[in-house]
Amino acid sequence: MQQQIFFFLIFLALLPPVQADLTIEITEGVEGAFPIAVVPFGWQGKTQPSEDVAAIINADLHRSGRFKTLPQVDMLSRPTSGDQVEFKDWRALDTEYLVVGQVQQSGVKGYTVRFQLFDVYRGEQLTGYSIPTTESNLRSTAHRIADLIYEKLMGVPGAFATRVAYITSVQVTGVQGQPKSRIDLRVADADGHNPQTIVSSSEPLMSPAWSPDGRKIAYVSFEEGRSAIYIQEVFTGQRQKVTAYKGINGAPAWSPDGRKLAMALSKGGNLDIYVFDLARKTLKQLTRHYAIDTEPAWSPDGRKIAFTSDRGGKPQIYEVPSYGGTAKRLTFQNAYNARASYSTDGKLLALVTREDGNYRIGTLDLESGLLQVLSRGNLDESPSFAPNGSMIIYASKAGHRGVLAAVSVDGRVRQRLALQEGDVREPVWSPFEK
């Protein structure tokens, strides 16, 4: 039976992606965003590539909220290489930065993408690369170029060539005509394109977590009538059941070295934090308290684990050494703080906090203890940092529907990501691909 479910899931995972893309709209950008022009790329070869590389770069930069992109119709000229650029044309348009490039066919399915980034006022090239790629990788090459431009101008790497995993839920009609839920775990590019269902179930799926190398996702599935933790290879669909103890098997969290999985288990009678060694298959209990202890998250150096506990009466964030020890309370502001995760530099915790009856996304500065509320919804949850630490993606509600939203860590840029139908929830941003 278990085998059958497994093959059914694999079969579903292999179905062509019929689901609609996520659409992303910027709801708030930064004042004084950098004016930049991305000129349509030139083309040399026989078969026109299926993707408009410049348009993808343009959309990425625009979506970050940090750039004001110039519409194509306003461009006075359309250079495709540095020697064709007339800087005065661009100065006249108050454009500060300029991207030009070309796509060249090389071989049957191969392409080479060249681009140059210029500082318009100084008339200088800031960076430029020539990147070999293929038809199927053109989108990701465009995202990588956007990453390079972002890094050059912002000083931190871009996170455009990354992905987001999330859960969707739609009502479908069952075999006997009865309504039932279909719950999918999906992975899409960070711009919402190319969504792929990697698990589909009529029972709840929860808490996806990327492995640090971005190749696996751990998640909770109720497909056997109760919770169990699985690890699945994103590219092959192969998976294994990790734990299915009596009671709750929840909240999987990878250690930064990818060797361990922290989790919340209630096999001891109530929820406590445990650490499971994936190679040795050994389990170590980290917390031992009659309260609810759940939602573990590793610090980037792997030395600490933050978790949610209501041992003080209400849910608050605590921190415990990952090898065991005494738990220390971290949150003191607001009566409800839960589901913490560390920023990549380890300085901030993203969390869910209740403020005036609203559940919102906030950050806790671990040094100053300052709690900053970033989101504005009333049922916001599941915050997840972009791997470059610039944005936090989270789940929100728009009317009756679950939607995804993102906010910059400084609260100045806001995006909303909506699926055409159904609920979207529990977004988790992938690490940088290795």
Partner: protein, 180 residues
């Protein structure tokens, strides 16, 4: 013949249930406290009335008491307060009635499904749903139900009974479902 047997079994059960009911005050100080609390309010009426009704219905109801629509056993959902997992006074007799049924039917299994409303984080709500189901389980075990008869599963906020986003919906979603 079949009906006679069922009737006979049920009459016997009613007697056992009734006997169990009258003997509870002797069980321990916890139950005594419960009853004296109830004595000042409506609780007593509900409690004794419910028990009398279950017993008298027995004479007319020829099936399994679980199928009797007038029995306390017909109530299969226990509701909870926000962020709470303690069982309200108004549900205690219902849980006890189920416990007594299970204790006298050791071959019957029950699945306690704990749920939470959508507010707050999903994994914490999974814990909350389990605490609620465990609260029901504790009362049942105190009433003599065997551990092997009870399966606890928490769904947290993953399986809402009402999909609205308001107080009414949330109240319907904070629940434990008893599934035989």
């Amino acid at each position: 013949m079949y009906k006679t047997v069922i009737t006979w079994v049920f009459i016997t059960l009613s007697v056992i249930l009734f006997a169990g009911c009258t003997s509870t005050p002797d069980k321990g100080p916890a139950d005594v406290t419960e009853r004296s609390t109830g004595a000042v309010g409506e609780g007593t009426d509900m409690q004794s009335g419910a028990m009398t009704s279950a017993a008298s219905q027995g004479a007319e109801w020829y099936g399994d008491p679980l199928e009797d629509p007038n029995s306390l056993l017909a109530t299969r959902v226990i509701y909870f307060e926000f962020d709470q997992s303690s069982i309200g006074m108004e549900y205690r007799d219902i849980v006890r009635a189920h416990a007594e049924y299970l204790a006298t039917h050791p071959q019957v299994l029950v699945r306690l499904e704990g749920h939470a409303d959508e507010r707050g984080t999903r994994e914490y709500n999974l814990g909350l749903g389990e605490s609620r189901a465990n609260a029901v389980r504790s009362i049942m075990m105190a009433e003599g139900v065997s551990d092997e008869q009870i399966v606890v599963v928490s769904y947290g906020e993953e399986r809402a009974a009402s999909f609205e986003h308001n107080e009414e919906a949330w109240a319907l979603n904070r629940r434990v479902e008893l599934i035989y």
